[in-house]
Symmetry: C3
Subunit: 189 residues, 3 copies
C-alpha cells in the first residue's frame, strides 16, 4: 500500500517534468530569424473536424531574433469572421515573450504570408502571397500581457475552399504556410 | 490491483511521451548549415564490438538548411564491403525529411568528408579528406521514402586500421568526423 | 509484489531518461554565437536568500560557435570576494566542452559584460559595461578538465547594491545581463 503510494508520487513528479520538457522543446524551434514554415499534416481530418466545430490551429512560436519578438500563426481551416464556412483564414499573433521589456512597442514590421504551391517543378509553382505592415495604432501589435491575450491579425478570406483544392496547395494531405517578418529595421539587443 | 493497473497505464503513456521527446531532441541538433561534426566516443570498445559483429554506427541527422535536405552519416569501425575487416568505412545517407515535397530531387550537391587529426598544434594536423559530387543517375540520392530506405554512399576504405592508429586520429579514445555539404546551389524555400 | 517491483524499475529507467533529456535540453540553448542574454527572474527573493547564505547563480552554458568554447556566467547577488555584502559580482567561466581537444588553449579572446538598463525609451538607457581580454598566463582560461573545475574571472564589484536599485537595472523583479565574446579571431573547426 505504502509502496503504491510512493510510486504514484514518483509518476506524478515525472509527469510534471515531462510536461516542462515538452513546453521547452516546443519553444526551442530554432526559428529565430523571423521566418517560419508551418506544415499542417492530416488536412482532411482536421478540415472535417473544423466543419463540425470552429477550431483554431496554432503553429509553434517563432522569433524575429534570438531575443526578439515572439510570434505565432493561427489558422481556421473552415474559416472564421467573413470567411466562415467558405475560406481558409490565417492570422499572426504577438505572444508574450521573455524579452518584451527590452523591445520597442508597438510592433510595426512588415509581415508576409505565403501559402505554398507544392508542384514538383519549382518553376510552375504559383504560391499565394499576402503582406501588410502593422500600423502603430493597431491594438493587435501592442505589447501583450499574459492577462490580455492579443487578437491575431490577418486574412479571414486568404483563399476559398474551392481554390485551395486546385493546383497543389494540398498535397499528401498536407499544407505548407510560410511567414516572413522583415527584420531589417528591428534594433537588436 | 486496479491501482497497479492504472499505474501501468500511466507509466506506458509517460514512456511514449519520453520517446517522442527523445526523437524530437535528436532532430533538433541545430545543425542546419549543411555541416556536422560527429564525435565517436569509446572507440576501442565500439571497435571490439564491431569485430565480433558488423555494426553500423549512425550520426545524428543534419540539414542543409532549416527546411532543407535531411542527411546522416554511418560508419563501420571494422569496415564493410571492400573494407571489411581492414578499414574504417564511412557513408552519407539521404533520410526522409519533413520538407522533401518542397525540395528538388535528386540531390546533386558536393559532399566533403574529413577525418580530423587531433594533434595539439593546429599547424601540424594532417586531416584525411575525401569529396564527391552526387550524379543525378545515382539511386542513393533520389527522394527517399519511409518504405524504401536509401543506401548510403561513401568510402568503404576511407582509412586502414593501421593508418588510423598513427598520428592523432584517435585521441582520448575518440574520433572526430566532419562532413560538409556545399549548399551554395541549393534553392531555399 | 513482483509487479510492483517491475513498476519501480520502469519508473527508475524513465527517471534516468528524463534526467538525460533535461541535461541535453539545457545544453541546447541555441547560443552558439558567443553571446548570451541572461535573464534573472525573482531578483528580490534570490537576493534575500543570498544575504542569508552565499549562493552562486549559474547561467545556461553558451558557445563561441557550434563546436566552440563552452562558457558560462556566474553571479553572486550579495557579492563575493571584495564585493561581499555590498556589490553584485559577476564572473565568466570556461566549462569543459565536447570539442576541447580541437580548440586552441588557453582561451585569449575579448569578453564584454553588460548589465542592461531596462528603461522604456531605448535612447535613455545607460547600460553598465565592463570588458577585458584574457591573458595567456591566467589559469582561469586554460583548458578545463572535469576534475579541475576552473575558477571564474570577472568583477566582484560590478555594481553596488545602491546603484543597482537606481534607474531600471531591476524591473519587474528581473535583471538582464548580456555577455559577448569577440569571436573574430577564433579559428573554426
Amino acid at each position: 500500500r505504502e509502496h503504491l503510494l510512493m510510486m504514484c508520487m514518483v509518476a506524478k513528479r515525472q509527469e510534471e517534468e515531462i510536461l516542462s520538457l515538452r513546453a521547452e522543446l516546443d519553444t526551442m524551434t530554432g526559428n529565430t530569424d523571423g521566418t517560419l514554415l508551418w506544415k499542417i499534416d492530416n488536412y482532411s481530418s482536421l478540415f472535417a473536424k473544423a466543419k463540425k466545430e470552429t477550431t483554431e490551429l496554432c503553429s509553434k512560436p517563432f522569433f524575429t531574433s534570438k531575443y526578439g519578438y515572439k510570434l505565432g500563426l493561427t489558422a481556421f481551416l473552415n474559416g472564421n469572421g467573413s470567411g466562415e464556412g467558405t475560406h481558409f483564414s490565417l492570422y499572426i499573433k504577438i505572444l508574450p515573450g521573455e524579452y518584451d521589456t527590452l523591445l520597442q512597442w508597438p510592433f510595426t514590421h512588415p509581415v508576409e504570408f505565403t501559402l505554398l504551391d507544392q508542384t514538383d517543378d519549382a518553376k510552375k509553382r504559383r504560391h499565394i502571397k499576402e503582406s501588410f505592415t502593422a500600423d502603430a495604432s493597431w491594438k493587435n501589435f501592442h505589447r501583450p500581457s499574459k492577462q490580455n491575450i492579443t487578437l491575431g491579425y490577418g486574412y479571414p478570406t486568404l483563399i476559398s475552399h474551392e481554390e485551395l483544392n486546385l493546383r497543389n496547395y494540398i498535397r499528401d494531405d498536407t499544407i505548407f504556410i510560410k511567414v516572413k517578418v522583415d527584420t531589417s529595421k528591428i534594433v537588436g539587443i
